[in-house]
Amino acid sequence: MRIEVARKAYGETTILRDFVLEVAPQESVALLGPSGIGKSTLLRIVAGLDDAYEGRVTGAGRIALAFQEPTLLPWRSVRDNLTITTRCTASQADELLASVGLPQVGDRFPNTLSLGQARRVSLARAFAMRPDTLLLDEPFASLDRDASSKMQALLLDLLRAHPARLILVTHNPAEAARLVTRVLRLGGIPAQIEGDTRFETPVADRDEPTIAAMAAEL
């Protein structure tokens, strides 16, 4: 897929200029940088939620997205949240809920879940789309360490079972070092690609010291 943003502005402020990014199928890319730099804007453009920009996005295929907020429908059961939104079957929904470690929540309403559980439901919903391109916007923010690392392991398992192109927005280098094969560091106004790092070590072979060393590089 190819993302080209010639210009994206909010009012007078140009936040993206001449930004070009190509992502191969099943490649995983992290967009790393401080908040307000335009990472989320870029993700919204790719998701088709923002068309007020000059440029184009091609070859993304079917897209699924998990926001920082779980954005579940509070008035529908957890299972219905998956089936209604993605048109998957109830049994596919139950299977995905089991694979994010929540086999028993299908009949419950989302407001009975913790934030970590709701995020995992939101991740299951994204995979229920059978996406070619998976967009994740700070999916682990404000989770405690345990919940966060558990959910990151789940994401890697799910990607192994359902391969997809991944674009992950994060401000946390350790997350990027654990989860992706390529890290783009964004900085400046308008945002530029200040660093483009490719990691050779396969995601599955990274242990904690490797991840810490890689994160230090970023």
């Binding site: 919204r44 998701a47 088709g48 939620l49 897209i63 699924a64 997205l65 926001f67 907020e69 954005t71 429908l73 509070p74 008035w75 529908r76 209604i84 939104t85 993605t86 309403f109 407001n111 009975t112 919903r125 789309m129």
Partner: protein, 248 residues
Amino acid sequence: MGDMRVPLLSIAIFALLWTLVAWLAASPATLPTPWTVARLGLAELASGELLFHLSATLARTLAAFVIAMTIGAVIGLAMGTNRAANAWGDPWLIGLLNLPALVTIVLCYIWIGLTEVAAIAAVAINKIPLVATQMREGARALDPALDDMARAFGMSRRAKMRHIVLPQLAPHFAASGRTGIALIWKIVLVVEFLGRSNGVGFMIHQYFQLFDVARVLVYAISFVIVMLAVEALALQPWERRATRWRLR
């Protein structure tokens, strides 16, 4: 069912005060006692008159209610989500909101004729701008994050309406439903008073001309009871169902 003792006691105190005032006034023609009214009510019920007129009024109320809620919701949703629709529609809405019910009723009877259609149209036209205003507020408060989510996942218009928009509007439907039904039946009575030959409003007209206060009260109180029953048996259960997800 919650504790009914306080409301029942409160009603009993009201009846007691009524009796006291009636006794002090000592003029049964102007203010009959509660038991006189109750006795007359039972007689009207036994003759079938009461039920006939109650059901005529109830049918008009429900017809006007359904029409006003539907049209008002469509208008409100359009105005709440579309800037141009709001700019064009707002002056009309303000005009209609300030149009006295009596004017609408008289004009409908003159233009459409002394018919059932005119009666129901007049009532609905009075209520539509109120529903539209309430629904516009609801539409403006729709969560943009949920809308983004629906777009990102390519949900159909139909699915969005059913699973995202309408559940968010449910509290506004409930609020305008509750105030709506209360307002509508009062206007229905005026409509019947002015140009129908059955219904509670018609009967009140009849007994007003005879200065029969007792029977005016019989019809008024009976219909209040019917509307309280509609609220308790239809509106409240629906609202509980629509908001059941809020319970943890």
